[in-house]
């Protein structure tokens, strides 16, 4: 396994390239994914608003399709193509745009397997950027993955590092069900060790990012790095936290979380999505329901306030859950007494 360090952005690009190399039915569709601003010609074109698909248009002629600015049209086309033997990777650019193509995802792609007696497969991957932190305001900064997690028939993937990006995207493309692949837009320049060879990380298997004995901290996507920062801050107080990255929230590896809580007796869930009906509330409810007897303290959730993501930079910074917020929550559950 030859590893080297590449960025989260490069990991997306490499997974796409390797899967297109491996399987000629894989195609890419989306707004500006082939061209876009920033380049002189087709081959050196920018490749999407944040340069993620740069270079693929030239490498795979005819398989990287720029679409009109009509999510309802091309997401529908991708879903249809998937039912007819292609493996499209459609880029929804910002996950905030899901509203205009929700029927195609929620009521078509997610349902085909079930409406046609298991005979229809819909191997479509929808990549979308989520998350706050880039001063992109309320319409381009949401973490809407709970919306998709709510819908049976969809798989929802939230990678937390370049290694996870590459292996989970490969698995998303190879999977025969519709997958919503959520990339945090503030993480594209994060660097990490990634094998050069192609590999797939199975869905529904959480990663134990760090082992610890006092508190279980489940963190989603970008929040994993916040939890790691919190773990370092907590070392000096003698509190060791176990960090669990579910990797996929649908399916969810609840067993890994329960096993950890059985050991620690305390749970903090960190989620960047709005606090009502998010992944944190879901995991907290399931753990309380399944492992009430193991808990030594109430479960704490670390999420932003229930408001649209603010545009004012100072407010946006306060909005995003921080390492200090996690430290505070961990201390609350360790110091709790009846």
């Amino acid at each position: 396994m030859a590893s080297r360090k590449i960025s989260y952005r490069e990991a997306v690009n490499e997974a796409l390239a390797q899967e297109m190399e491996r399987d000629s039915t894989v195609i890419i569709m989306g707004e500006d994914v082939a061209g876009g601003a920033g380049g002189q010609g087709e081959d050196d074109a920018w490749g999407g608003v944040l340069g993620v698909t740069k270079g693929l248009y030239g490498k795979f002629p005819g398989r990287v399709l720029d679409t009109p600015i009509t999510e309802s049209g091309y997401i529908g086309a991708a879903v249809g193509a998937a039912t007819r033997g292609l493996r499209p990777v459609a880029e929804l650019m910002f996950i905030d745009f899901a509203g205009v193509c929700l029927d195609q995802i929620m009521n078509q792609a997610a349902k085909f397997r079930y409406m046609f007696g298991g005979k229809a497969v819909t191997p479509v991957t929808i990549r979308a950027m989520y998350g706050a932190g880039l001063r992109a305001a309320a319409q381009h900064s949401q973490a809407l993955y709970p919306l998709f997690t709510h819908i049976p028939g969809l798989k929802v993937v939230i990678p937390s590092s370049p290694y996870e990006v590459k292996g989970l995207l490969a698995q998303s493309i190879r999977d025969n069900d519709p997958v919503i692949f959520c990339e945090h837009k503030a993480m594209y320049d994060v660097i990490g060790e990634v094998p050069e060879e192609s590999y797939a990380i199975p869905f529904g298997e959480a990663n134990i990012v760090r082992e610890g004995d006092n508190v279980t901290v489940v963190a989603i996507g970008r929040m994993v790095s916040m939890a790691e920062e919190a773990a370092k801050k907590l070392e000096s107080s003698g509190i060791s936290i176990e960090i669990i990255d579910p990797r996929t929230v649908s399916p969810l590896d609840l067993d890994a979380i329960l096993e950890s809580v059985e050991n620690t007796g305390r749970l903090v869930v960190v989620d960047e999505a709005s606090p009502r009906c998010n992944i944190a509330t879901d995991i907290s409810a399931q753990v309380v329901s399944e492992a009430f007897g193991d808990l030594k303290a109430p479960v704490k959730m670390v999420s932003p306030p229930h408001v649209p993501v603010p545009f004012a930079g100072s407010l946006e910074d306060l909005y995003i859950p921080s390492a200090q917020d996690i430290v505070n929550a961990v201390k609350t559950v360790t110091e709790w007494s009846k």
């Binding site: 396994m1 030859a2 192609s198 134990i208 890994a256």
Partner: protein
């Protein structure tokens, strides 16, 4: 002016990616008499926890770093010298070491270099450590089933002190091609023979662990290496008896998740706590690579005959006829030490207490001593 009786104990480099480590607990105190091979400190890294053993005898004159402080690889952590070396000389060495740690100016050039060669249409990745210009016969390390070139992290460095050492990834493993042909020991051995020839090594000592021990034996008997293999060091080698833990061999190949893999890995060690998160993670990362499933399935099919070993290399060992030293963990639960009887009269066999199948990880000093015995080094 430096006194060559003063020895600096430095942060070791255990594995290619290790950049720093911390002493979790000092096992000696200032003023203690230290024997060569004695445990000095427990050291923790991102990847692995291990115990550092002393390379020298002498008195622990100074502990330079506190426990739980991150120290870059190569940084001085303690000073060992005879009792009669004046304290001011020790103080000067400690002061220089602390200054170097504070400045961050530690140049780590000690780590292995990774390269690859092409053998029979496969790329073979390897880590080279030590002086490749040295006159001394080089040592080639051959890992076992599911292992890779990083398996030798506690052993390769000390052996490389006076010679070149090469640790390769067999086909189907590590960063080498995942095509294993029929997956047989003979095919893996021909890759090893090709590797030695491709590097142009006129003479080598082979060190093999588990399946790598069988592979090294077959390679040593290959006409293409006639007169090239100077010695064999075998660590819990496969192919020397019928007893093998088929459940482990199959279980490792089939496990897909942390939960499935962990109980199998615990069978590798006498001390099960050595199976940490990072070891499981690294192996899962390897097992997820495209092509590894198919490679392991072929190797398993060639290794097993029902619940017994399908491999027998005792004839090859006899035809090799050169110096052979074997090391077996007394608590080996994968290729049990009960197989060692077949080597009686043909090899020196050391049974090591407190070690399982991974003696080179659990009791590295015993393995280092066995290799030195085989290669005739002091």
């Amino acid at each position: 002016m430096t006194n060559d009786q003063i020895q600096r104990v430095t942060m070791p480099k255990w594995g290619l990616s290790m950049e720093s480590g911390k002493v979790t607990e000092w096992l000696v105190s200032e003023g203690d008499e230290l024997e060569k091979g004695q445990d000095v400190a427990d050291i923790d890294t991102d990847k692995i926890a291990g115990t550092l053993e002393s390379a020298w005898s002498g008195v622990v004159r100074a502990l330079v770093v506190e426990a739980m402080v991150d120290v870059p690889v190569g940084g001085t952590i303690a000073v060992v010298a005879p009792a009669d070396v004046p304290q001011e000389e020790i103080d000067a060495v400690v002061a220089a070491a602390k200054e170097q740690l504070a400045s961050g100016a530690i140049e780590d050039e000690s780590g292995p270099k990774v390269a690859e060669v092409h053998v029979d249409g496969r790329s073979i990745s390897y880590a080279v450590l030590g002086d490749t210009e040295s006159e001394a016969t080089p040592v080639v390390f051959v890992h076992g089933y599911g292992g890779d070139k990083n398996s030798w992290l506690f052993v390769q460095e000390p052996i490389s002190a006076d010679r070149a050492t090469y640790a390769l990834d067999l086909p189907g493993h590590g960063a080498s091609s995942k095509d294993v042909g029929d997956g047989s020991v003979a095919t893996l051995a021909s890759s090893l023979v090709g590797f030695v020839n491709e590097l142009g090594l006129p003479r080598v000592h082979l060190v093999g662990h588990s399946v790598g021990g069988a592979v090294a034996t077959v390679a040593a008997a290959d006409p293409a290496t006639l007169g090239k293999v100077a010695s064999l060091t075998l660590i819990s080698p496969a192919g020397y008896g019928p007893d093998i833990n088929a459940g482990y061999i199959r279980g490792f190949a089939e496990a897909e998740t942390r939960r499935e893999l962990k109980p199998h890995l615990q069978q590798l060690f006498a001390d099960q706590s050595l199976v940490n998160r990072q070891l499981i993670d690294d192996l899962l990362k390897y097992k997820r690579l495209d092509g590894v499933d198919a490679a392991l399935a072929l190797i398993v099919a060639a290794l097993l005959d029902g619940e017994r070993s399908a491999v027998n290399v005792t004839a090859e060992q006899a035809s090799f006829g050169g110096k052979t030293v074997a090391v077996w963990g007394a608590e080996d639960k994968v290729v049990p030490a009960s197989n060692a009887g077949s080597l009686e009269g043909k090899a020196t066999v050391h049974i090591v207490d407190g070690a399982g199948h991974m003696a080179h990880a659990e009791k590295p000093q015993a393995v280092i001593a066995a290799i030195k015995e085989a290669i005739g080094a002091a």
